[in-house]
């Protein structure tokens, strides 16, 4: 299996990109290193959401909750206890996956829109608790100044740590998507009724998918803490979850790397457009509308061959008339 992957052009591209990224801190200033690190974290989060949305067809509307739970768990452990850092790093994703399991168990009983609305409701409860439990979470202010172990503190060290962890996670995700489970998940996306008829318990598989996706969201949360040294209740806010959704749509939710690309574009837009104008969300809204109307499968979903073929069809249809 590994040998097959090593031979594909996609892997060679990925390896080239990885090597390039390794070299970035040698040439680029701290600001660009930081931005790239933000892209890594956000990208991982978007990729984890896409496991469920693009490959699983689920209406995961409040994915940010699991990101936030992972971040808060790690943040609280590192800031308020004297446990070693790795405990916090492991507890984050586990807490996120556990939350995913509990909320998921509620949601898979229903489908489509109900699934989404229920998740928003349950996730909002966690948000409001984080916002109001001032003594534990510092409420609206969030927690700042979280200490990081020496080897990964500082923006360059954090950058490398994030690069390695995110690459490892992506590799794992790739394996999972190529596995029988991945194939089954896509079948569930395409036709849940047919799946039931061939012996696949849709609920069971969706729940497993949720646990995996929320685990990776938790990893992304932990990485955020490593990078920023802070946590904010905004991570748990529902509107943020919809932004992650947009990243998947923007990049292409039926492709593997699409969400990562979408996250990169979003971060770039927010950083660079945001420095010119305070009306960055207006531009985001317009971009989203353009996407919905013209590029519903995202940037990477544009299949040039299909477009050419459909152009041919339209031409010949015109000729007949």
């Amino acid at each position: 299996m590994i040998k097959d992957i090593l031979r594909t052009p996609a892997f060679l591209w990925a390896a080239a990109v990885f090597l390039a990224l390794l070299l970035v801190p040698l040439f680029a200033g701290r600001f660009y290193v930081y931005i790239l690190a933000v892209v890594f974290v956000t990208g991982l989060l978007a990729m984890s959401l896409n496991l469920l949305v693009g490959h699983g067809g689920a209406y995961q509307f409040h994915h940010g909750v699991f990101y936030g739970v992972g971040a808060y768990t790690a943040g609280l452990i590192l800031a308020k206890t004297s446990l070693p850092a790795w405990v916090g790093f492991c507890a984050g994703p586990l807490a996120a996956a556990l939350t995913g399991l509990v909320i998921g168990a509620f949601c898979v009983r229903l489908n489509k829109l109900y699934f989404g609305m229920l998740q928003i409701s349950l996730g909002s409860l966690i948000w409001i608790v984080a916002l109001r439990w001032y003594s534990l979470t510092n409420g609206d202010d969030g927690i700042h100044g979280i200490p990081m172990p020496e080897p990964i503190s500082g923006s360059v060290h954090a950058y490398y740590f994030l690069l390695v962890v995110v690459s490892a996670c992506l590799a794992l995700m790739y394996l999972i998507l190529k596995s029988p489970f991945g194939a089954t998940l896509r079948a569930v996306r395409d036709n849940p009724q047919r799946c039931e008829a061939v012996g696949i318990s849709v609920r069971c598989h969706q729940l497993l998918g949720i646990v995996i996706a929320t685990f990776f969201a938790g990893v992304a949360g932990v990485l955020f803490v490593v990078l920023e040294g802070s946590v904010f209740p905004d991570m748990l806010f529902w509107v943020f979850s919809l932004e992650i959704f947009i990243m998947c749509l923007l990049g292409g939710w039926f492709t593997f790397f699409g969400p990562m690309l979408g996250a990169a574009i979003m971060v770039a837009l927010r950083t660079f457009v945001g420095s010119y104008t305070e009306y960055w969300t207006l531009i985001l809204g317009v971009v989203l509308i353009l996407l919905i109307f013209f590029l519903p499968e995202g940037i990477m979903g544009v299949n040039v061959r299909t477009w050419l073929r459909s152009r041919e069809r339209r031409r010949s249809a015109g000729a007949v008339r």
Partner: protein, 244 residues
């Protein structure tokens, strides 16, 4: 093998199935016929677990499967194809069948082995048996209507069923395609010892192929017997065959 006893199912006030009985013995090719709205598809949905009956029983090999959900009914050895081609449109033909095979072998939750290395032989065999091998890498949504119906059957075969339920397998097919499909069905039944239960509107198909016919009207079973007996039964003639 399969026994349906006095099955009833209503949707609000509408009695979709109102006293259906069915007997299917091993090796049979049983056809269910009846006018539109007679409740045939609802009956199939009840048997396969997509709907739960209000009253009555469904026994499969002696076991009561009346209230099992669909994916568990499948595990008992019953597989089904649907009236409207119900495939996985974005997946390849090969993957369509492979998903079914993986489910049957309980491998659908395997996370860390590549799907393109598992169950290849079993999937290829099924595709060969139904004659779709040359299209195995086509996207399922792009197949012709007739080929989609055959893919339907192939997906059902992935479950290694003992009883195969086909919901109007030749709907919308030309006479050539119909003959080919039914020949395929009969060959599969012979080669793999499958028991087949199907419903159809095409009377030629029914009377040529079936070993036993069950007639439904307004949700009730009027009669189940050998084809000749059904053909000569006056009630059936008046109700359905138009007094032929």
């Amino acid at each position: 093998m399969l026994q349906v006893e006095n099955l009833r199912k209503s949707f609000a006030d509408f009695k979709a199935v109102d006293g259906a009985d069915l007997r299917v013995s091993q090796g049979d090719l049983v056809a269910v016929i009846g006018p539109n709205g007679a409740g045939k598809t609802t009956l199939f949905n009840l048997i396969t677990g997509h709907l739960q009956p209000d009253k009555g029983r469904i026994l499969f090999k002696g076991e009561d499967i009346s209230h099992l959900p669909a994916h568990q009914v499948c595990r008992k050895g019953i597989a089904r194809s649907f009236q409207i081609a119900n495939i996985f449109p974005r997946l390849t033909v090969f993957r369509n069948v492979q998903v079914s095979v993986l489910s049957q072998k309980n491998l659908s939750r395997t996370l860390f082995r590549p799907a393109h290395r598992i169950m290849l032989e079993e999937t290829r065999q099924i595709l060969e048996r139904v004659g779709l091998s040359d299209q195995q890498f086509a996207i399922a949504g792009s197949l012709s209507h007739g080929d989609k119906r055959i893919l339907e059957i192939a997906i059902a075969l992935g479950n290694e069923p003992e009883l195969l339920i086909l919901d109007e397998p030749t709907a919308g097919m030309s006479p050539d395609e119909t003959a080919a499909t039914m020949a395929l069905v009969q060959r599969l039944a012979r080669e793999q010892g499958l028991t087949i239960l199907f419903c159809e509107h095409d009377m030629d198909v029914v009377f040529n192929v079936a070993t036993s016919i069950m007639v439904m009207q307004q949700g009730k079973t009027i009669l189940q017997a050998a084809p000749e007996e059904v053909r000569q039964n006056i009630t059936v003639q008046e109700a359905y065959l138009g007094g032929a």
